[in-house]
Each structure stands twice: as C-alpha cells, then as structure tokens.
C-alpha cells in the first residue's frame, strides 16, 4: 500500500476553529493564573493536543502525546540545575565587585554568559527532538538518539562565525544550523535529510542589512535638497523648518516600518529555503508562504492582540500553527508498510531548557 501525494491538493490540512480553541485557551488562562503559572505546562499540552488532532496529514490526523508533567519536570530540572546555581554565581560575582575584584567578577560573568549561550543551542535541539518524539502519525513517531550536546557547540561556533564578519554570515549560520539540527532527526525508520543552501538567502539578508544605511543615505539626500530649497524659501519663513520636521518624522516611521518588513521578507525566504531543503525518505517538503503572507500574518496578529487589549495573545499558538500547517506542503510518496516504528530513545522530560530561555519552536 502506498500513498501517491502528487494527486492531492495539499498533504497537510488544518480543520481547527478558533471558537473551539477558545474553549481550551480561556480555561487554560484561568487555571494558569490561579496556579501562579504552574498550570501552563498542562495548558500548552492541551493546546497542542487540540492543534495536532485538527491537523490532517494525507488521510490521518496527527497526535500529540506529550504530557504536562514532562514539561513541568523539565522546568524543575532547569530551575534546580541552572536557576539556583546562577543565582549563587550572581551573588558571588557581586560580592567580588564589592571587594574590588572587578576583573574576576567579569570573567565569571562572561563564563556564565558562554554557558547560557551553549545551553541555548542544546535547548533548541532538544525541543525539536522532544516535539518529534511526541508527534504520532498512524501510530508512528519521530525522534533522535542524539542528546544535542554536540549541537550546542556547533551553535556556539557557527553563530560566532556568523557574527564575526560584521554579521554578514548570519544567513550561513542559520541555514547551516537548521541543516545540522534536522539531519540528526528521524521519523519512523527514516532519517531526515536537510540540504538547504544558504547563498540564495544573501540578497534578502543584504536588503535587511542595508536598510538602515539606505535610510540614512536617503535622509541626508533629502535634507540637502531641503536645505538648498530652504534657502530659496527663506522669504516664506519657517517652511523649510516644517519640511525638515516632516522628514525627521518620516525617517523615524520608516525605520520602524521598513526594518520589520525587511526582516520579515528575510525570514520568509529563510523558512522557505530551509523547509524546501528538507527530505524524509521519498517525501519532499515545501513551505509556500511568501513575504506578503508573513506580513499580513503579523499585522493581523498585532491587530488581534491590540484590539482585544492583549487577551488575543492566548490565540497566538492557534494562529501560528494554522499559518504553519496552511502553508506546509509535501510531495512524493510514503510506503506505509515500510514506515515502521522509530527506535529512537524517548526522554522523560520536556522542553525544560527551551522553556526556561523562552525561545521559539522549529
């Protein structure tokens, strides 16, 4: 038995509705408040259970089998292994400043920062691993046997290399890390293959990178023109000043509008390339959202949050997942008989590290 995907409109379909999600999100908010936030691990789990169950891949819904307790244990582990030692180290380094050992305090703080940086990388990796290991389709799950400690080192040095030439190699480090992360993952018996190329990303990145410079250059040009015309308009009085004022306002506005737009355009391309380079056995993936889709998505998110005075924030997991699934596409075929159970280990704790550092998914 095999499924030919080329005949289908889209392999991924989302059937959820925000009204149904609201029935989960509001009680979650209430319970999270009265438990001083502890319920949020179970809240996240319930939301994912709903979102996964509403997501069709070909002819079967996904299943989220993660447990709130796993996330809670992960959080507690981070608190005990990292939180408390860090508080103590902070006290010590402040004590050292008091004693005038500024250099030593600086070294300790730097080491602390490096350790946090390393762990952020590990956390990204482990969160992806956790999510795959808890995602089932037709009784089969994903995962990885790699604990992600090596990835943490890669994350450090690749990020560093990305920043070194005045941040110009950031696209390389992002794509390269994405590939490294996904190449360590598998679903069922099949390993993911991630071969995204970073070079096509450079044009968009340079656009984003150069926006501030272009804006400043444009501003100077306009200012010179205005100053020149201001001489001629001298007789009319403050008109030149008014023009100058308008230009400054426009420049500030454009910095706040154009820069985020350029960032979204870059991220849209990044995600398209990254997903496009992903393979699972005979399956190829594609993410079809383009820059305008991302921009509309973010504007709508902002509008929802602002118009509901922030309450709409609880719908963001729904919005994000729907956007993700609506634009995901898969091609190729799956041999159902060959798709056997994953042999990867299943860790008993959740996204503790990731949760503690508050970094995003996939």
């Amino acid at each position: 038995m095999s499924e030919d995907l080329t005949q289908r409109h889209s392999a991924f379909r989302f059937h959820g509705s925000w009204q149904e999600f609201a029935k989960i999100a509001f009680p979650n908010l209430l319970l999270s408040i009265v438990t001083l936030g502890i319920y949020r691990f179970w809240a996240t789990t319930r939301e994912r259970e709903y979102l996964w169950a509403q997501t069709d891949f070909i002819d079967e819904r996904l299943e989220w089998t993660g447990k709130g307790m796993e996330l809670f244990i992960g959080f507690i582990m981070v608190f005990l292994l990292l939180g408390l030692p860090f508080i103590v180290i902070q006290l010590i380094s402040q004590g050292l400043i008091f004693r005038g050992e500024t250099v030593l305090a600086g070294v300790i703080t730097l080491l602390m920062f490096l350790l946090l940086f390393y762990l952020t990388g590990v956390a990204y990796f482990r969160a992806l691993r956790y999510r795959l290991s808890r995602t089932y389709w037709r009784g089969i799950r994903g995962g990885s046997n790699d604990p992600g400690f090596g990835y943490g080192l890669s994350y450090m040095w690749k990020s560093f290399v990305g920043w070194l030439p005045i941040f110009l190699l950031v696209p390389w480090s992002m794509i390269s890390l994405w590939n490294e992360r996904w190449n360590a993952m598998s679903f069922g018996p099949h390993r993911f293959e991630a071969n995204a190329d970073w070079k096509p990303l450079m044009k968009r990145y340079l656009l984003f990178y150069l926006v501030p410079f272009l804006l400043v250059a444009g501003l100077i040009t306009v200012a010179i023109v205005a100053a020149a015309s201001g001489d001629q308009l001298g007789a009319i009085g403050g008109a030149g000043m008014a023009v100058g004022g308008i230009i400054v306002v426009l420049a500030i506005l454009s910095l706040y509008i154009i820069l985020p737009l350029a960032a979204l355009a870059f991220y849209s391309k990044y995600f398209r390339l990254a997903v496009g380079g992903l393979r699972l056995h005979n399956l190829e993936f594609d993410f079809r959202a383009r820059a305008p889709d991302w921009i509309l998505f973010f504007l709508a998110n902002m509008a929802i949050v602002i118009c509901t005075l922030g309450i709409g924030y609880i719908f963001m997991p729904y919005r994000n997942w729907k956007f993700f699934v609506d634009h995901m596409e898969a091609y190729g075929e799956i041999n159902i008989d060959e798709l056997t159970q994953s042999k990867t280990i299943v860790s008993k704790h959740g996204e503790g590290l990731l949760d503690a550092f508050d970094v995003g998914a996939i």
Partner: protein, 362 residues
C-alpha cells in the same frame, strides 16, 4: 457523529491502518482483522490518548504507538471497560473546573502567605554564625575601601556604643565612596559611605542614620528580605518572566517600606536612650529629600542592591523624627567637636583606603 460504530487499529510497529472488531473476553479483548487476530490485550492496560474530531484514541501501556480508535456510538458494555475521557488532566477532571479553580486559588494564596510571612519567624532562627559568614563572604574588606584612623575609629566606636547595648555584635565602617548612602548587610555589618558623613552638618545627623541601620540589623531585616526573595523566586518561578518580576518587586517594595518604618522607630528610640537630639536627623532627611533622586535610584538595582536597605527619603519620615523631639529635654551632642572633625576627615586622612567602586559608578 458517525452512525455506525467503527474501530481502527494501529499496531505501533508499522503505519498500516487496520479495520478491526473488538472481541471482549472478560477483562481482556482481541482485535479481529479479516483472518488475523491481534491480542489478547488487557483492558487495564488501555490508556486514553486524545480525541481527534469525533474519534476517541486509546493507547496500550508500554506498547509504543499502539492505537485503538473508536468512532460512532460505542456499545455501553464496551464503554464501561474503557478509561474515561481526559479533558484538563488528572486533578482538574476529578474536581471539575470550578472547584479546581477555587482549590488552586486557595493553595496559591497560602503559598504566597507562607513565603511573605515566614521570614519574620525564620530569620531569627538562622544562626548568627551563618549570618556572619554570609556577610564576610559578601563584603570581605570591601576592596580596601574602609577608612581607618585611630581617632576616627574611636569617634565611630563611641557613636556605636551610645546607640546600641551590644556593640560587639556590630561591625560599623566608613567606606571611601562618595555617595550619600548607608547600608546594613548580613552579619551585623553597617557601612556608612563617606559622602554621607561629609554631607552631614552635625554628629547627631550621622547618629540618626547609623541608628537606623542598626535598626535593620537588630530587626533582622536583611536576612528576612533574603529569605523572602528566595521564597518568591521559587513560588513565582512558574510565572512568565516579566509579570513574575513585577509582582515580586511590588511585594518586595511594600516590605522594604515596612522595614524602613521599623528601622526609623528603632533609630528614634536609640537616639532617645542615648540622649541625642533627633532634630539633626530630621533636618538631614529634609536636606537629602532634595538630593533624593540620585541617591535613591542608585540602589534600587538587582541582587545585593535589591536587599540593601534603601532610604526613600520623604517628608513623613522627617516629620516623624521631629515629633519624637521631647521638649525641654537636655540633649547633648553625639560627639565632641574634636571627635566629629576626626570622623569627618577620617577618609581624607587615611590615604591607604581605595576610593570609588573599582568602576565608574556615577
């Protein structure tokens, strides 16, 4: 809702979907698929997994990916044997959302109450040796910033002796730091900053401030604040970063104000016992309230600064000191003018003491 009762099965080994019928034999069951028979399985091993649209999904303990999926009207005799639908997770489902909300609210309130109130009783139970070690660890020799001259030390000791009945527990120092501030630290340490001493117009003023800091030591405020901060960090650890920090700071602030009032009361009493006029302290606060901004912002930072006793100078505090003046009482100056000069010039005379904070603090 489907009209017919349908059962599907994934065995967890491959992704093949099997249409089956359930054959119940006592507390066990078989799954019949055309000519194949799967099982036997025990109902006690069946776990509720999730609900996909109108399909209830069950798993089997210790068999990864094993799924039993039921849709349509489940026969009553089978429904009885299956585990219950899980909505919120264990406790909430057992109590119901309303009761669980109330129970969680009460538990949270109790936890916060314990954290806020227990330090008052716990702080005196901490052995003074621990307190002292903590103080030594934090401060040490303060980076060589303590000023010392024989006559200055003697004048300072005279002040301490007049203000406290057990001066041997206290370690009062003047630090060569040009800030108008004073701090009480663990282990009975009180540090007067040279900026404060130089600003003062009479020894009575310094006596008032010193008595206030001794008040913090005697009331165990520093240890209380430390314990409270640690407790709040644990209890509010589950709350998202920003809102947790906000609540934490608000609670800490309200307690810090209470402590300040207690320390003021202690100061007035000590001044009265030592026969030192509170007039100086009142006018000192009055003058400082104008310089307030700079002196105050500096020590509202994090960590050590967070539990350093800050001095929010206000009119009310000044009035309280004015009120404590007993008319007709024959007050005597806290120090002779020779002693006062020695104390005031101690840091100028002591050339060995280092100045400043090791880095630019201004």
């Amino acid at each position: 809702m489907d009209t017919f009762f349908n059962v599907w099965h994934y065995d967890g080994r491959s992704a093949v979907r099997r249409k089956v019928e359930i054959q119940t034999i006592g507390r066990q069951f078989f799954l019949l698929e055309n000519e194949r028979r799967h099982g036997p399985f025990s109902f006690s091993d069946v776990e509720y997994v999730t609900r996909k649209e109108n399909v209830d999904v069950y798993g089997l303990a210790d068999v990864d990916g094993w799924r039993l999926m039921l849709s349509g009207p489940v026969p009553a005799e089978l429904a009885e044997l299956l585990p219950a639908y899980r909505k919120y997770g264990g406790w909430v489902d057992r109590l119901g959302l309303g009761k669980a909300t109330i129970a969680f609210t009460l538990a949270s309130a109790a936890a916060i109450a314990v954290v806020l109130l227990s330090p008052q009783w716990l702080a005196p139970l901490i052995p003074s040796s621990v307190d002292k070690k903590l103080g030594d660890a934090l401060v040490g020799d303060f980076g060589g910033r303590f000023c010392s001259t024989p006559a200055g030390d003697a004048a300072l000791q005279k002040l301490v002796n007049s203000l406290d009945s057990k001066p041997q527990d206290l370690q009062v120092e003047v630090a060569k730091i040009d800030m108008i501030n004073a701090v009480a630290l663990p282990g009975g340490k009180v540090i007067l900053f040279d900026g404060l001493v130089k600003q003062a117009r009479s020894p009575d003023e310094v006596a008032g401030v010193l008595a206030h800091e001794i008040g913090h030591v005697r009331e165990k405020h520093v240890m209380q604040a430390l314990l409270r901060q640690m407790g709040l960090a644990v209890v509010l650890g589950g709350v998202d970063g920003n809102s947790g920090a906000l609540v934490n700071n608000m609670l800490a602030m309200s307690y810090s104000r209470e402590s300040e009032a207690e320390a003021d009361a202690h100061s007035m009493k000590a001044l009265g016992n030592a026969n030192i006029s509170p007039v100086g302290t009142a006018s000192f606060f009055d003058r400082l309230s104008e310089l307030d901004g700079s002196a105050r912002n500096r020590d509202e930072g994090q960590g050590i600064a967070g539990y350093m006793s800050s001095h929010p100078l206000s009119r009310e505090r000044k009035k309280a000191f004015e009120k404590s003046i007993v008319k007709g009482k024959n007050y005597k100056p806290a120090l002779t003018s020779a002693e006062w000069t020695e104390l005031k010039t101690m840091c100028t005379q002591d050339r060995k003491a280092k100045s400043g904070f090791g880095f630019d603090f201004e």
